[in-house]
C-alpha cells in the first residue's frame, strides 16, 4: 500500500508555487487576525484603562488580570450560565434537527419539499432580521404569542418575558436554535442520502432488520457529520452576542451576562481592556478545549 500511486503530482525538486499561492491569504490573516490575537494576549497581561489609553501604553502587571478574574465569583456564575445556555441550545438543535432529518427520509415527497423550502427560507434570514421578528413575537405590548396563550384561556396581558431570566433565555435560545436548525437538518439529511444504497441492500439480504440497518450502518456512517455539526454549533452558540444584546435593548442586566457580553462590558463598558482581554482569552481556551476533537477530525480531512 505504501508504494506511491498516480496521485502524487510532485516530483523531487523544491517548488515555490504552493507558498506563493497561500501567501496573500496568510498576509491578510496575519494582519487582521494575527496581530489582534497577539495584541489580545499582551493586553491580558497589562493594566489598560482610560489613563493608559490616553498615555497610549499599558502597564505590565503579569497574571494579575487572570488572578482577579478567576477569584471573582461572578466569573464562575457567568461561565456556568454560558456553558448551560450553550449546552441547551446545542442539544435542542442537534436532537430536533437530527430527528427531523431522519423523518424527512420517510416523508411524502410533497411534504418533504415544502419542509425543505421552509428550512431554506429560515436559513436565509439575516441574523438581525430573525432577532427583530422574534422580539416582535414576544414583545411586551402587542405579542401574538401572548394573544395565543390568552386565547387558550390564560390571563397574561402585557407579559414581559424578560423579567424572568429563565423564560428570557428560553426565548433567546429559541431564536438561536430556530436559526441554526435548517443548517443542521439539511446537512444531516444530505449526509443520509449519501449513504450507499447497495450497503443497505446487502445488509438486508443478510437478514438485517431496519433497526439493525440503522444502528449498524447508517449511524456509524453519520457519526462524523454529527461530530462536525455538534462542534460547529458549540463554537457558534458559545459566543452568541448579538441576540442577547439586541433582545435586551443593548443594555442587558447582570443576570443576562454570558462570557461574550461579560468580556465586552468589562472592556467597552467599564474601560478595563486588560481584564476584558483576559476574559476573552479564557473564553477562547474553553472553546478550544471543547472543540479540540473537531479540529483533529478536520485536519485529517485536510491531509487527504
Amino acid at each position: 500500500m505504501s508504494t506511491t500511486l498516480a496521485r502524487t503530482t510532485s516530483p523531487r525538486r523544491f517548488k515555490p508555487w504552493p507558498y506563493l499561492l497561500i501567501a496573500p491569504s496568510l498576509i491578510a490573516l496575519g494582519i487582521i487576525l494575527g496581530f489582534p490575537v497577539y495584541k489580545l494576549i499582551s493586553l491580558s497581561f497589562e493594566r489598560y484603562g482610560l489613563a493608559e489609553i490616553i498615555a497610549g501604553k499599558g502597564t505590565f502587571i503579569g497574571l494579575e488580570n487572570y488572578r482577579e478574574t478567576l477569584k471573582d465569583p461572578e466569573f464562575w456564575r457567568i461561565l456556568r450560565r454560558t456553558l448551560l445556555f450553550t449546552f441547551g441550545m446545542v442539544s435542542v438543535s442537534i436532537v430536533v434537527g437530527g430527528w427531523l432529518a431522519h423523518l424527512m427520509v420517510k416523508m411524502h415527497p410533497g411534504i418533504r419539499k415544502a419542509l425543505n423550502g421552509v428550512l431554506i427560507l429560515v436559513w436565509a434570514m439575516p441574523q438581525l432580521v430573525s432577532i427583530s421578528v422574534w422580539r416582535w413575537l414576544f414583545s411586551f405590548d402587542f405579542s401574538i404569542v401572548t394573544a395565543l396563550i390568552n386565547s387558550l384561556g390564560f390571563e397574561m396581558d402585557n407579559h414581559n418575558y424578560f423579567v424572568n431570566t429563565f423564560s428570557g433565555f428560553m426565548i433567546i435560545g429559541g431564536c438561536v436554535a430556530w436559526g441554526a436548525l435548517p443548517f443542521i437538518t439539511i446537512s444531516i439529511y444530505a449526509a443520509l442520502t449519501q449513504v450507499p444504497k447497495d450497503l443497505i441492500e446487502a445488509a438486508e439480504i443478510d437478514g438485517a432488520n431496519s433497526r439493525q440497518v440503522f444502528r449498524n450502518i447508517i449511524l456509524p456512517m453519520l457519526l462524523p457529520v454529527y461530530i462536525i455539526l455538534i462542534s460547529l454549533s458549540t463554537i457558534w452558540d458559545f459566543q452568541v452576542f448579538s441576540h442577547i444584546w439586541i433582545f435586551l435593548d443593548s443594555r442587558p442586566s447582570a443576570e443576562y451576562y454570558t462570557m461574550a457580553i461579560y468580556a465586552f462590558q468589562k472592556s467597552f463598558g467599564l474601560s478595563e481592556y486588560g481584564m476584558g482581554a483576559a476574559i476573552s482569552l479564557i473564553m477562547i481556551f474553553a472553546l478550544i478545549g471543547v472543540t479540540g476533537y473537531y479540529l483533529r477530525q478536520m485536519m485529517r480531512m485536510g491531509d487527504e
Binding site: 497561500i22 411524502h108 439575516p126 459566543q239 479540529l295
Partner: protein, 275 residues
C-alpha cells in the same frame, strides 16, 4: 420493508415542523402588510383582514435607507471579490499540492474560524483606529475579508477535491502547461462551486452586524443591519415599519440562497461520509 405508520408519523411531524418553523417568517410578512391600527392592537389576529403598503413606504422613506443600501452593496462587492480572488489561489495549493507546512496552514485556517469574534473586538478596534480606518467602509471590508477568507478557502477546497485529478493530468499529458491545465480544465469545472461560495460570502457580509456596529459610528456609514437596529430607540420600537424593513433586507438573501442551498449543505460536510 417500510413500516406503514412510520410514514404517517413522519408526515404529521413534517407538517407540524413546517408550521412551527415557518410561523415567524409568516408573521413578519403578514405584519408588514397590516395597517397601523391592526398592528397596535392588544388582540392581534392570525390572519390580516386589511392590506396596506404604508409600512413599506414608511420604512424606505426613513432616513438613511438608500445610503445604507448603497453602503451594504459596496461592502459586499469588495469583500466578495477580494476574498474569492485570494482564496482561490490558496485553495488550489491546499487541494492539489503537497508542501511542507500544509498541516500548519490548514490548522490555522480552521483555528481562526473558532476565534470568537466578540473576543477580538477590542484589539481589532485598537488596530483599525491606529490605521485610521475606524468609521470607514474600507476598515469594515478589511475585517470581513479576514473573517470570511478561512471559510472560503475551506469550501473551495471541498469543491476542488471532488474534481478528479486525472482530468488535469490528461491535459498535462496532452501538452498543456500547469497554468493552462488549471485555466482550461479546472476552472470551468469549479465554476459552480465558485459561484456558490461567492453567494455564501455575499450573504455573510450582507448579514454581519456586530463588527459594523462597533467599527462604524456615523449614520451615513451604516450598513443594512445597522439601519435595521435603528428602528428601536429609547421610545420603543416601530414594529410595522421594522417588519417591512426586515422583509426588504431578507429578500435578496432568500433569492440568492435558494440558488445555492444544495451546494452549501454538501460542501460543509464534503468527504465526511465515504461512499
Amino acid at each position: 420493508m417500510k413500516r406503514p405508520n412510520s410514514s404517517i408519523f413522519s408526515n404529521i411531524s413534517g407538517m407540524f415542523a413546517i408550521v412551527l418553523m415557518g410561523f415567524p417568517v409568516y408573521w413578519m410578512v403578514s405584519t408588514s402588510f397590516k395597517p397601523k391600527g391592526d398592528i397596535l392592537s392588544t388582540n392581534p389576529t392570525l390572519f390580516p383582514h386589511s392590506f396596506s403598503l404604508s409600512n413599506y413606504t414608511e420604512a424606505i422613506t426613513k432616513e438613511g435607507f438608500t445610503q445604507a443600501l448603497w453602503n451594504s452593496v459596496i461592502v459586499v462587492v469588495f469583500t466578495v471579490a477580494i476574498s474569492l480572488f485570494v482564496a482561490l489561489f490558496a485553495s488550489i495549493a491546499v487541494a492539489r499540492m503537497k508542501f511542507r507546512g500544509k498541516r500548519i496552514y490548514v490548522a490555522s485556517i480552521l483555528l481562526v474560524q473558532m476565534l470568537p469574534l466578540s473576543a477580538l473586538l477590542i484589539p481589532l478596534y485598537l488596530l483599525l483606529s491606529r490605521l485610521n480606518l475606524t468609521d470607514k467602509l474600507a476598515g469594515v471590508v478589511l475585517t470581513y475579508i479576514a473573517f470570511i477568507l478561512p471559510f472560503v478557502v475551506w469550501t473551495l477546497r471541498g469543491f476542488l477535491i471532488n474534481i478528479p485529478v486525472e482530468l488535469e493530468e490528461a491535459a498535462l499529458v496532452d501538452g498543456c502547461t500547469k497554468p493552462q491545465a488549471y485555466r482550461l480544465v479546472l476552472f470551468p469545472l469549479m465554476a459552480p462551486g465558485l459561484v456558490a461560495t461567492a453567494i455564501f460570502a455575499f450573504i455573510q457580509a450582507w448579514n454581519e452586524f456586530l463588527l459594523a456596529y462597533i467599527l462604524l459610528s456615523s449614520q451615513d456609514k451604516a450598513t443594512m443591519p445597522i439601519w435595521l437596529a435603528g428602528f428601536t430607540n429609547r421610545f420603543g420600537t416601530d414594529w410595522g415599519p421594522l417588519m417591512a424593513a426586515s422583509t426588504i433586507t431578507a429578500i435578496p438573501v432568500v433569492i440568492f440562497f435558494s440558488l445555492i442551498q444544495d451546494k452549501i449543505a454538501t460542501g460543509v460536510t464534503a468527504g465526511a461520509v465515504k461512499g
